[in-house]
Structures are given as structure tokens and as C-alpha cells.
């Protein structure tokens, strides 16, 4: 479904990604783990077209999207839950969700909003609350809900566990799991390697802008190097 072919990305003179090759197939959960500054977010952002890849190709369902502008890419079947949630804090929960369904028809929006409320009953309780006044976990739910409003086929999650308590993280990951059961393809970028790999069908390990390991999630969990570097064991 999604494929990176020898993708390199530069910030000015500095090369952040070196010939990255990876792929995500339909219906999979793929986790990308790595230390701070390894290039995880850069990889996601390259997929979204900001910054653009300096060489190589990003293919989505066989279509080359490397040169498309960000809003063109995001208007399609890809949705992202950005790092740090980035909800619209002064808008209400419902308005945030409406923003997610900006390009959908009114009827579609109404249907999808109901689905999101089913998935996150907590959000329904807070319909007219300002998003910024909610707890971190609720905001993360809102960010995911907002991304789902465009009815994407590929959902990108950038550090959904950032700054959340372990019990909330567990809830978020349960939700991600349930999304997979609905047939959503998920690409998860995480520092929380333990959780991310447990959930994932496959995983990639990124180090200094290079993919250094690729394996099934379970195998990576027991991999010596991964355990040493990311799981603290």
C-alpha cells in the first residue's frame, strides 16, 4: 500500500534520511521505532510531503506522491495524528471533528462523527467543551478521532503515547488495535518500543536516518540489540 524506495531527505545541507526502503501492506500495523533524532518524524513528514524527499520515491497504492504538495496528499486516503496532538484548542470537540471532515459531505460527516463517538464515548460527553481544556489522553483521542473523520485507508500515528500516563497509553493502544480490526492500515511511529512492537505485525528500527533492522514485531521484541537499545533490558 505504501512504499519508500531509496528515500533520502535533507534539511538544508544536513541529510536526515539515507536511502530508506520500507513498505506497509494493506491491513497491517507497522511500527517504526528509534531513538530521539533518528529521523522517525522526518520519515513521516517526508511521506506527507514536507520536507520533500531529495531523492527516491514515495509510492502510495502504486502512485508516486513524492512531488505532490502536502495538502494534496493529506486530502486523499492518508490521515495523520501529528506529534503532540495539535488539536485546535480553542475550538470545541465537535468543531475539531468537523475540521477533520472538511472535505466530506455533510451527510458523511454526520455518519463518521457517530462512528468516532462510538469509538470514543468519552468525546461524546465533551461535545461542546473546548478541546484545550481536556486531559492529555482525551486530547489524543480527539486527535485520532479527527484523523478518522476523513475516512482514511492509511492512518499515520506519530508518537501517540507522548506525555501520557501508562494506563492511558494502554487505552490508546487498545483503540489502535480495534482500528486494525476494522481493516485500517496503520503506520505507527513510537519511542515506546515495547508497546509499539507488541502491537505491530512488522517493525522497522531507524538509527541515524538509516533502517537498521526489519522484522516481525514479535521477533524484534526478543531481538538482543533492540532489547538493549530500546527496551532497557
Amino acid at each position: 500500500m505504501l512504499e519508500f524506495k531509496n528515500v533520502s531527505t535533507h534539511y538544508g545541507q544536513i541529510q536526515a534520511l539515507h536511502d530508506v526502503n520500507m513498505s506497509v501492506s494493506k491491513g497491517e500495523i507497522v511500527s517504526l521505532i528509534g531513538a530521539n533524532g533518528a529521523g522517525k518524524t522526518t520519515l513521516l513528514m517526508t511521506l506527507c510531503g514536507d520536507p520533500k524527499a531529495s531523492s527516491g520515491e514515495v509510492l502510495f497504492e502504486g502512485k508516486n506522491i513524492t512531488r505532490e504538495s502536502t495538502h494534496q496528499i493529506m486530502r486523499g486516503d492518508i490521515a495523520i495524528v501529528p506529534e503532540g496532538r495539535r488539536i485546535f484548542s480553542r475550538l470545541t470537540v465537535e468543531e475539531n471533528l468537523h475540521m477533520g471532515g472538511f472535505f466530506a459531505t455533510k451527510k458523511q460527516v454526520e455518519e463518521r462523527i457517530e462512528e468516532v463517538y462510538q469509538l470514543f464515548p468519552r468525546l461524546k460527553e465533551r461535545i461542546s467543551q473546548r478541546a484545550g481544556t481536556m486531559s492529555g489522553g482525551e486530547q489524543q483521542m480527539l486527535a485520532i478521532g479527527r484523523a478518522l473523520m476523513s475516512n482514511p485507508r492509511l492512518l499515520l500515528l506519530d508518537e501517540p503515547s507522548l506525555g501520557l500516563a501508562p494506563i492511558i497509553i494502554q487505552q490508546i493502544f487498545d483503540i489502535i488495535e480495534s482500528l486494525r480490526e476494522r481493516g485500517m492500515t496503520i503506520f505507527l511511529v513510537e519511542q515506546n518500543a515495547n508497546q509499539a512492537l507488541r502491537l505491530a505485525d512488522r517493525g522497522y528500527v531507524l538509527e541515524n536516518g538509516r533502517i537498521v533492522l526489519e522484522d516481525s514485531g514479535d521477533n524484534l521484541l526478543v531481538n538482543e540489540e533492540v532489547r538493549k537499545a530500546y527496551l532497557g533490558a
Binding site: C48, D50, S69, T70, H71, Q72, I73, M74, R75, G76, A79, I80, P82, R86, I87, F88, S89, R90, L91, T92, E94, E95, H98, M99, G100, F102, F103, I127, S128, R146, A147, S150
Partner: protein, 419 residues
Amino acid sequence: MSKQVIVNALISAVTFLVLAGWLLGISMQAEPGGVQLVFAEPSHLHWLWGGMAAVFFGQLFFPSQVDKLRHVAQAKKQRFKLPAMDRKGSNLVACFVLAGAIIWPFMVSRGSVDLATLTLIYVMLGLGLNVVVGLAGLLDLGYVGFYAVGAYSYALLAAEGWGFWTCLPIAGAMAALFGFLLGFPVLRLRGDYLAIVTLGFGEIIRLLLNNLTELTGGPNGISGIAKPTLFGLEFNRKLKDGGFDTFHNFFDISYNSQYKVIFLYLMALLLVVLTIIVINRLLRMPIGRAWEALREDEIACRSLGLSPTVVKLSAFTIGAAFAGFAGSFFAARQGFISPESFTFIESAIILAIVVLGGMGSQIGVILAAIMMTVLPELAREFNEYRMLMFGLMMVFMMIWRPQGLLPMSRPHMQLKQEA
């Protein structure tokens, strides 16, 4: 019948007599030797005695009923609360305010109406800039440029013999076009940089007006701009060549220069009301939400597939269009425009109106516009200290109420209740 009831009835009757006696029983008459207190005529006294009897017998025979009435009143007070002002309520208030604003000019002096018209122009400008600065979060210091474009568009078209109502949308469209053209290259800038570029734009427009002498008359400006008419009826004493008729002649009333002032005021009021309706409508549309979302978080907007340039451009263009409307009305009212009217200080005042009013809040902007135009007029007697006081007031305002007079509370959407 207990003694208690009789005493009660007596006390009530005497109280009635004392209270009503002053009003009905005694009257004052001016006599040669001064004001004299005179007992009222017998007919008045009959009413007084009659009332007293009614109170006395009422208290005597139906004390329980009278008490019940009181209980009903109290019970009502407890059972119902005044309903919170909902949309219906605020609509009602808006209608009253509007009615008041329509009646008002007929009761006050010509100067007040003139000042009010000016205020309404600033309200329109404030509301327009509010879209750009308050909602979309784009700091625009060159707003007066669009105002100027609107004013000159009308002035030039009116010289060709076009009517006001035809020119109004054209002036708005011209200003919007300028907003669009300026917006394209500069809207990739943010914050301070955008402010500087827009500031430059406002100056460029003014300098162009100053120097394109053949077209704009340069520093001399354009004079003799046609006043707006009411369906072709002019408000002058004498009919111009080729005019349809004058207002006072058509309705067969005597000429009064006040009519013109009031007409202009009502027209400004109409334009302001239209502006409010249109902007409110936009706010409830997805595009309005997108403006606010963009102000909140541009990256999130991009992640949702919105093109920030398009969203910003729409806000910039729509804001400019309202400046164009205000400008063309300004030109029509003044009958004379020159680049002097479109200096940077105007931009600053309009921006101050938006900030003082509370970014994004429409009622706040209206209040602030009234304050910003009326206060300097009231303080005229302080002469040169006027602007100093004005500045001080704004400084204190920012210290005590940095969020503005009436910070924005946005219209919330409500879910339809499932049946």
C-alpha cells in the same frame, strides 16, 4: 371575624388614605401670593373614599384571598427562573438595538448623526479587519489600502455617471481583487513579516494615489463625488442636470438638509447590518471554522489536507472586500477624497478597534468602534492633550483588560436531539 382582622383592615385603609391622599386629595395651585395647597375637588375625593372603602372591606372580608394572591406571586418567583438569554433572546435584543438605531437619528442633532455615520464606517472596517486579524490571525497593517481602493473605485466610477448601488459591489470586488493579488505572494509569510509587508502595501497604495495625478488627481484628490440617491431621488435642494427628482419635491415636503444626513446614516446602518449578517453566516460555515483552526494550528490544518494559502487568501480577500464597501460609502458620504484620508494612522485605528474589542468578537468590535470615534470627539475640549489621553486610555485598557472589551465567545454548534 377576629379583632386581628379588623385592626389589619383599619391599618390598610389608613395607609391607603395616607399614600393616596397626597396624590388625589391635595393639589398645588399657583396663586398671586405663591403656591398654595388646595383641597381637591369633591369628584377626586369621592375616588379617594371609594378606594379606602374597597381596601377596608377587602381586608375585612377576604383577607385569605388577598393573602393567596401574595403567595401566588411568591410561588411564581420560586418556581421559574428568568430563562438564560438564548439565541431567541439575543435576537430580540438585536432587534431592539436595531430599532433604537433606526429611530435615534430623528431625535438628535445633525452633528451627532454625522458622527454616528462615521462610527458606522469604522464599525464596518473593524468587522472586516476582524475577519483577517481576529479570526484568521493574520496581522494586517495595510488595511487602509483596501479602504482607499474602495473609495477611489467609487469616486472614479461615479465621475463616469455610475450610481452608488451599482458601484458598491464593484468597489468591494476591486478591493477584494487587490487583497487577492497582494495575498498571493505575501501569505507565505507569517506574523511580523506579514505585518511589515502589509504595512508597505498600504503605503504603496497611498503613494500611488498621490502620484498617479492623471487618474486620481494626486494630492488634490477627487471632489464633487455624487452622493447616493434613494431610488434616483436626490437629497439636494436643487435637482442636478438630468437627475430624476429631488426627495423633498417628490414627497412634497419642504427641503431640510437634515434628510440627507439621516439618509446617509441609515444607509451606513444598512451596510453594517449586512456586514454583520454576512460575516456571521461565514462564521457558521466550514470556511469560518477553517480560519479559526488555521489561527490555532497551521500544521494541524495542513495535516487535515487544508491548503493554508487558500484559507488565508479567502480571509484576506473577504476582509478586503468589506474595506472596499466601507471605502465606497466613505467616498459617497464625504463627496471628496484625497490620499490624506488613507494614511497609516487609519490602519492603526482600525487595528486598535479590533484589538480593543477583543479579537474575533463582533459585539466587542462594534463597542470599540463606538468608543474609538466618540471618545476623541467628547474629549475635544482638552485640545492637544486629547491624543495623549486617548493613548493613555489604551495603555490602561491593555493592562486591565488585555483580552479586549468583550472577548469572543464563539457560536457553538448544537447536536440535534435524536428523536
